[in-house]
Symmetry: C2
Amino acid sequence: MKVAVMGYGTVGSGVVEVIESHADIIPKRIGGDTLEVAKILDLRDFPDDPHRDLFTKDFNDILNDEEIKIVAETMGGVNPAFDFTMKLLCAGKSVVTSNKELVAQKGLELLETAKKNGVNYLFEASVGGGIPIIRPLTQCLAANRIEGIAGILNGTTNFILTMMIEKGMSFDEALKIAQDKGYAEKDPTADVEGHDACRKVCILASLAFGKHVYPSQVETEGITNITLEDVSYIASANGVIKLLGQIKYFSDDKIAAFVSPAVVYNGSQLASVKDVFNAILVRGDAVGDVCFYGPGAGKLPTASAVVADVIDCAKHTERRKIFGWGAGDEDYVVDYRSNVEMPFYVRAKASASEVTAKFSEVKFLSRKGQPSDEVAFITDVMTENKLFQKLDGMDVINTIKVTNY
Amino acid sequence: MKVAVMGYGTVGSGVVEVIESHADIIPKRIGGDTLEVAKILDLRDFPDDPHRDLFTKDFNDILNDEEIKIVAETMGGVNPAFDFTMKLLCAGKSVVTSNKELVAQKGLELLETAKKNGVNYLFEASVGGGIPIIRPLTQCLAANRIEGIAGILNGTTNFILTMMIEKGMSFDEALKIAQDKGYAEKDPTADVEGHDACRKVCILASLAFGKHVYPSQVETEGITNITLEDVSYIASANGVIKLLGQIKYFSDDKIAAFVSPAVVYNGSQLASVKDVFNAILVRGDAVGDVCFYGPGAGKLPTASAVVADVIDCAKHTERRKIFGWGAGDEDYVVDYRSNVEMPFYVRAKASASEVTAKFSEVKFLSRKGQPSDEVAFITDVMTENKLFQKLDGMDVINTIKVTNY
C-alpha cells in the first residue's frame, strides 16, 4: 500500500525510517499488505538523502496520485496543513497526523470531512507522543463515564521542573540546559507558557466528552512563576510541582479544562514522571484511575505513533473507524475558578496568625532559610475565586493549585 | 443488540451492572445501537436479583438464541468455558472474556475458530483487569519491534509485598490481611506461587510475539521465600521487591518468559506501583518504554474491560478484527537461566572476602541488625546458571533477580 509523507522534519523523517526499518513486521500487523513510502512533500532540498527520488515540492503530486491512499501529515502548524488535509480527505485518502495545533483548532471540520468521505483522520501522535492514549481512551475505556483527566503533557516543562526539584536549579538555569539538549526551542514560549499542553488538553477533552474544545476556551498558565522556594515548601509536604492539564466532567453540557502548575503528592503515579516523559491519568467511573506513561516527544517515539495510525488506516480501507466528536459551544467549558474546588498552596509575606484568621483549616509548610515574615500553607478545598476573596489584603507571593490526581 | 453473560460471579454481575448503568453512553460509543443483556447463564439461583427473569441454567438457551450475537464469558476455568466458547464461535457469535486461564491454555484454538467463523474472540480483561493493554500492545505499538515486557500482573502479591516493604509486616501477616480484605483467596496458591501472573505472561507473550506460549513453558517462582531481611537489604540499595512477569525477545523463534520476584530500582515506573495495582511496561525499539498502570482486578474495573470488548464486537459486526497469534512450539521459549543476563541480589552466610574471591565486581548491601556472618550484595550482569556456578560452595540464603526495567 502506497503512503505519502508531508513534512520531512524530525517526525516526518522518523515516519519514513520507522516504516522502512519495520518492513518485516508491518505486513503481519496489517494482515498481509506492505507499506511503501511513495512520495515525500517538503519545500526544502535533501540532495544527499537516500529517498531523494521520492521528494516533491508540489502538493498536487500527492493529491492526484490515485495509488496513494494514506498520507502522514507531519508538517505542523495550521496552514497550509489544514488546506492540504481537507483536500486529501475530500479526495478519499485517509490522513494521519502528529499535528496537535491543527487537531486542536480544526479537528471538528477535519473529522466531519473524513466521515463524509468514508475515510479516516487519525492523530494518536498528537497527544503524548509515543504514548498510546487516543485508542485506550476511546476504545478500552468505552464502558466508562470519564470523570476527569490529568496529564503531564509537555516534556520540556517537565524536564525543567525535574531539574528544579532534583538538582535545585533555577528556572533559568534549567531552561538553558533544556535548550542545550534540544528539548526546548530558542523561543520556549509555546512550552513554558503552557500553550503546547493546552492543545493536547483540547484534543483529550474533545475525545473524552464528545464536543470540540478550542485552545481559547482553556485557561492556561505556564511555569515561569515557579521558584525554588515553592519547590522547597512543597517538598516538605511530600509533593512536587508539575505542569498539569486537567479536565473535569460535570455534565454533557459542562466541563472544566485548564493548564497550570499543580502540586502532586508523591503517592500519585504522576509524581514519579520525570525528565521529558509524559503521563496521562484517566479517571473512569467503573475502572477507577488508569495511567499511561511514556516518551511524550522525540523523533522515533512520535513517528511510531504516526505509523501505528497508518497501519490502522491500512487495516480499515473498506470501513471507517467510528471515532470523533461533535461541535463545541461557547458556554461548554466553564470558568474553573468558580466551578472547581480544590486545595491551594499559598506563599505570602504574612504571619501565621494572619493566615489562621482568614482560613479555618490550613497546613503550614516550612523550608530551609525561610524568612521570619514568610509563610506557606495548603488550604482546605475551595474554588479559586473563594481563595482570592480570602487572600484579599494579604501580601501573596504565589498560589498553586493542588490536584486530587 | 442482544448480549448474554455466562457466569454471574463478581465479574459477570459487574458486566451486567456496567452495561445497564452506561446505557446512555454506550450507543454513542457503538455508533447508534444499544446493548441489552438478554440472558445470563449460571447454575446457581438468584431469586432476589432484579435480573431473575434473564437467568438460565441451560447453555443451549444462549447457543440457540439467534438474536444473541455477543457473549461475555466470565465463568473462569478451562471447563466448561472452553467447550461453551467453541460452540458459540462456531455458531457465529463473538465471545469476550476475562478468563485468563482459558486464554492462556486454549487461546490459539479459540482464536483460530473465531477467525474461521468470521467472528471475534476478545480478552482485554484477561490481563491487567481494567488496564488497557491488549489494544495498545497490538494497535498503538504496531509500528514497534517489541524488545521486552515486564509487568506487575498480580494485585494480591503486590499488596502483600507493599505491606512488607512499607509496614514491615512478615509475609504471613501480610497474607492474612490480604485475605481479610478479600484480595487473597483462602487457598492463596494461585496468587502467591505466581500461577496467575504466569497465565498473563503467556497471553502478553503470545500477543506481542505471535506464537502461543503455554503456562508450562514459563518458569514460575512465587513470593513465599521473600523475607523482611531481603526487603531491608534491597531498600538500602534504593530498590523494592516486586513479583514480575518478564518477557524477552531474541528472535521470532526464540523468546524467554518467566515469573519471579525481582529487584526494581526506585527510578522505574514499576517501583511506585503499590497495593493491588498492576502495571505493564512495554519496551519498543522505536517508542522506548511505555507503561500502563491501573487496577489489576476488582469487579467494576474488570467488568469495564469486558464491556469495552463487547462494544468493540458490536462495532465490528460485519468485519473481524485482525488479531491473534499462531501456533507455538516446544523450543520457542528458551531456558532463561542460560539465556538471559542480569544482575542478581544474593544473601548468604559468608564473609565479604569469600564473596570478592568469587565475584570480581559486587555492591555490598547492609541492613539494621545484620549478623556479622551474613552478607548481601548485588552482582554484575550474568546468567543465572553462571551465578549458581559461582555461588557453588557458598551457604546461600536467597537470590533474587534484578530487572533492567
